[in-house]
């Protein structure tokens, strides 16, 4: 099942994050004999609120009834990827707090295949609330008729398929409509976005069935929205950052949680962000809530002490001071005694009289079918992998580079198009930009036989392959260049890097739809800074890697598409 392929990615990602000290930090506190450690894995969108609460809680040295001091260690992670990690048993937290309860029935369904009881059972309390919304730059929302007109998924689908993009609405200067949501196999908001699209496509608001998901009309609607997606991502917090850092030329709108809009507007109002105002669109067809359930797992690795400790931490989070702190970060408190006041207001882009309605959460099998629908309805990717096979790659480096590239190929769909270019003193095309399906087995075999030797002609090769992808790639597809190198360039024209940086800048004409460059600095001799300078302006990302974590890096890159 594809899902468990993604489970592997999830675990690899966790490793990558902990190795690289990435965005998903871990909060630890010293423990001693009379303490109990409660581990919490939580959805990344509540990191800004939760992290300071963990610090405060650990400093308070609160105790269980039995007198044991509770110490909390909390890790942020995409909600779906954490579920998959827990189901495999590789992640063993005391508490799981995904972004919403939607994925709990799926987790229970999978858990029960090997266990006699549910992973999450009994009543689970919500920590904080936020509706799933479409974040859109205010001028763009106004161009669509907001706020007089309540917008929805039908508007997004219409805009996505309008050949002229924003020109259709009299704003040619804004270019194409560029949309984004997270990867539905990693993140809760990606799942909810897909469910909302499936509901909108089937014309329903409740009772979504497997037949509805399989209906060609549903697929057509989903494909319409997906056609405007610039790329996906592993977490909602990441998407929010992308949108708010890079602005309207990069993304016109994205599926986020309301609280992220409040936080961005708060920054803008305080002069910490120069972007346009952003507003929350509450889809008129209905939406879902991120309710951030606090689930103490019914798993064999959770001890009674940890269960007691988890209850102490839960009570702390639900106490008024912590709930009031959540309000400051744009969350709607779970404590009904706390009113919905500033910053939950129009000045911060949100409307607390919304949402007017919700969509019914479908059964676990329908959720899984909707995830599968995404796999076949999403935009294909045209990707070129540029692999350094210079002499310095010998030994473990080339071996793990081969294996990780094979694994990366396994993550791509048959209809995705892949080109593989090897370079040392010169560049050689191992495989042209053609659909992966018919050539998958042959390509895997050829990759397994790659050998190293020669110098490093890095930037000339990247520039050439970038230009080739710009020429041969389909601009309707997600286009990406993945570059792996382990050494300084000693063969290229010095002007190549500057040219590459100039033409690949996502602030240019195509904005967020431009080719993304992902660079992997493999080992300590790789030109990390130079690679960063070509990756980040394109909307891609630079990674520092080694033979131990290269698989997880490739996996994270795959979450973009």
């Amino acid at each position: 099942m594809k899902k468990f392929q993604f489970a592997t990615i999830a675990l690899a990602l966790l490793t990558a994050c902990s190795n690289s000290g990435g965005a998903t930090g871990t909060r630890t506190a010293p423990t001693s004999a009379n303490t109990v450690k409660v581990t919490v894995i939580y959805g990344s969108e509540k990191k800004d609120w939760l992290e300071p609460q963990v610090v405060k809680f650990n400093a308070a040295r609160l105790k269980t009834v039995a007198g044991t001091t509770v110490v909390v260690e909390a890790t942020a992670m995409g909600s779906v990827e954490s579920a998959d990690g827990i189901l495999k048993g590789d992640l063993q937290p005391t508490v799981w707090s995904p972004a919403s309860s939607i994925y709990i029935p799926v987790a229970n369904l999978e858990w029960r295949k090997k266990n006699t009881s549910d992973l999450v059972d009994g009543k689970v309390n919500d920590l904080v609330l936020s509706p799933v919304v479409i974040a859109m730059w205010k001028p763009m929302a106004e161009a669509l008729g907001w706020p007089a007109k309540q917008l929805g998924w039908a508007d997004i689908a219409r805009l996505s398929t309008a050949g002229k993009g924003w020109d259709t609405y009299g704003y040619p200067e804004w270019g194409a409509f560029k949309f984004g949501h997270t990867h539905p196999f990693f993140s809760n908001s990606g799942v909810t976005a897909m469910l909302a699209m499936a509901y909108a496509g089937s014309g329903k608001q409740r009772g979504l069935t497997l037949d509805d998901v399989a209906n060609p009309a549903t697929r057509k609607f989903v494909e319409s929205v997906q056609s405007s997606v610039i790329h996906y991502g592993s977490s909602t917090g990441f998407f929010g950052d992308r949108m708010f850092d890079r602005g309207p030329s990069y993304l016109s709108a994205a599926v986020l949680y309301e609280n992220l809009i409040v936080a961005q507007e708060d920054k803008r109002i305080k002069g910490q962000s120069a972007q346009l105002p952003v507003v929350a669109i509450y889809p008129q067809e209905g939406t879902f809530w991120a309710n951030n359930p606090y689930a103490v797992l019914n798993a064999p690795w959770v001890t009674k002490d940890q269960r007691d400790g988890a209850a102490v931490f839960e009570k702390f989070l639900l106490d008024r001071p912590q709930q009031l702190a959540a309000l400051e970060f744009g969350w709607r408190p779970a404590d009904p005694a706390i009113g919905l006041s500033a910053p939950l207001d129009a000045d911060h882009g949100v409307d607390t009289t919304q949402p007017k309605t919700v969509l019914e959460v479908p059964t676990a099998d329908v959720i899984q079918a909707t995830q599968s629908l995404w796999k076949t309805a999403k935009k294909p990717v045209d990707v070129t992998v540029v692999l350094d096979i210079s002499g310095s790659m010998q030994g473990a480096r080339i071996a793990s580079a081969r294996q990780s590239l094979q694994q990366f190929i396994g993550l791509l769909d048959d209809r995705d198009r892949l080109r593989v270019v090897l370079f040392s003193t010169t560049a050689k095309e191992l495989s042209p930009l053609t659909a992966l399906g018919p050539k998958r087995d042959e390509l895997l075999r050829r990759v397994g036989g790659i050998i190293e030797g020669g110098d490093t002609r890095l930037f000339d090769t990247v520039l050439e392959t970038y230009k080739a992808l710009a020429k041969d790639g389909d601009p309707r597809n997600i286009r990406a260049l993945v570059v792996l190198t382990d050494g300084e360039d000693n063969q290229s024209n010095p002007a190549s890097k500057a040219e590459l940086t100039r033409i690949s800048d996502a602030r240019g004409g195509e904005g967020g739809s431009s080719i993304k460059i992902f660079t992997i600095a493999y080992g300590t001799e790789a030109p990390t800074k130079a690679l960063q300078e070509i990756a980040e302006p394109s909307g891609g990302k630079q990674y520092s890697s080694n033979p131990a974590n290269i698989r997880s890096i490739y996996s994270e890159i795959a979450t973009f598409f």
């Binding site: 609330l129 009289t353 007017k356 919700v358």
Partner: protein, 397 residues
């Protein structure tokens, strides 16, 4: 010099002896008291355990410390400590019947559950664990009727003239209509989201389906199993209503809290207790606005009995302590607190509903009424079981 054998000497020595005995006795008693007060375990606490239905949680949590500190809070000189556990009303009696819980007192939402436990425990053990008719050991403490609670704009759209005699019928028709609120010109409200708690878990949901059954059979008493099993019209109607509810709550208090926490997007209207609506009235105003109580054409009242169990684990001291706790809850301070702070209707006639500070005055705009609609008769246990079984077959619970 005084002689030992003199009368004066004898009298004085007797007095001294008497004073000495009194002093020693006083010292003994005083010491005993000191020991009781300051030496742990010297004056053991009598712990009373209570299993109660969730909707009373806030009231009981505020009353217990006051009771323990009051003159009621002692039995045979020992301090009483109350330990409480909340469960759904059905779980309250089932857990006792199954032996999972061994409390001294149980307090489900209604005498209905006490009647079922009396019947079931008699069958199981030969002697009932509770007796409805024993007003020494089993006393209703506060009451509240089943009502509709909804967001005013939406309920007024559904029932422009209020919930008249055809309230349930109109509601069911709207629930069945796949156009949802679009049929009322309000497409932005989505599908109609009425709900109640799961009757297998919670008394208010149980009461809601009893009211539906009575309404559809056009009765207010004498509901029979045949009314449920041999009436195709009722069955179709009931399936239309319950089959279109997308989410049943597990507890009344939590469901009301959810309505207020999430606002109208989650629920348009619920059938639950007047008291929980009152309890959340202020919160609702501060979050999503105008919430209102609507009284159904006929209702059922939950009387919240406190019943001391006739069980081997309840000894005389526990029983006396439990009775003392119940009596405290029936006293004026606790009854007033139940009304003023938690929206319950007091059992004590000394506490009027229309007194100053009463929610029936304070929250008049909530639609509260002191006078109640007619009450339907509680059906016998076998009829209730038939209805529950039918509900289980009908819904996607």
């Amino acid at each position: 010099m005084r002689l030992r054998g003199s009368k004066t000497y004898i009298m004085k020595s007797q007095r001294l002896l008497f004073v000495g005995i009194i002093a020693v006795a006083a010292l003994f008693v005083g010491g005993l008291l000191l020991v009781r007060n300051f030496v742990p375990g010297a004056n053991p606490t009598v712990t009373v355990t209570l299993l109660y239905s969730t909707e009373k949680e806030d009231w009981l949590k505020s009353m217990v410390p006051q009771f323990e500190a009051s003159s009621f809070g002692r039995v045979n000189g020992h301090p009483i400590k109350v330990e409480m556990k909340k469960l759904g009303s059905r779980e309250v009696y089932l857990s006792v019947l199954n032996g999972e819980e061994k409390p001294d007192i149980i307090s489900p939402a209604s005498m209905l559950q006490i009647a079922i436990l009396e019947d079931e425990s008699r069958k199981k053990f030969g002697t009932p664990l509770v007796t409805v008719a024993d007003r020494n050991l089993c006393k209703p403490v506060v009451s509240t009727p089943l009502v509709f609670v909804g967001w005013r704009e939406r309920v007024d759209t559904l029932w422009p003239s209020g919930p008249g005699p055809d309230a349930w019928k109109k509601l069911q028709t709207a629930m069945m209509d796949q156009r949802g609120w679009s049929a009322f010109g309000k497409p932005e409200w989505g599908y109609l989201k009425f709900s109640h708690t799961n009757p297998l878990l919670s008394n208010s949901g149980f009461q809601a389906i009893v009211l539906m059954a009575y309404d559809q059979t056009r009765k207010t008493s004498g509901l029979s199993s045949a009314d449920i099993l041999a009436n195709k019209d009722f069955q179709t109607w009931f399936q239309g209503m319950e089959g279109n509810i997308t989410q049943f709550g597990s507890s009344t208090g939590d469901m009301m809290k959810e309505m207020v926490t999430y606002g109208p997007s989650r629920f348009d209207m619920l059938a639950l207790y007047e008291s929980v609506a009152i309890e959340q009235a202020t919160n609702a105003k501060n979050r999503y606005g105008d919430l209102r109580v609507y009284y159904p054409p006929a209702t059922l009242v939950s009387d919240h009995p406190f019943c001391v169990l006739n069980a081997s684990w309840v000894n005389t001291e526990h029983r006396d302590a439990a009775i003392s706790f119940t009596n405290y809850l029936l006293g004026r301070p606790a009854q007033e607190a139940a009304l003023l702070n938690h929206g319950f209707r007091p059992t004590s006639r000394e506490v009027p509903l229309d007194q100053a500070g009463s929610p029936f005055i304070k929250f008049a705009d909530l639609g509260l009424k002191i006078g109640l609609p007619p009450e339907v008769q509680l059906p016998p246990g076998d009829v209730l079981s038939t209805l529950l079984d039918f509900w289980t077959r009908t819904t996607k619970n």
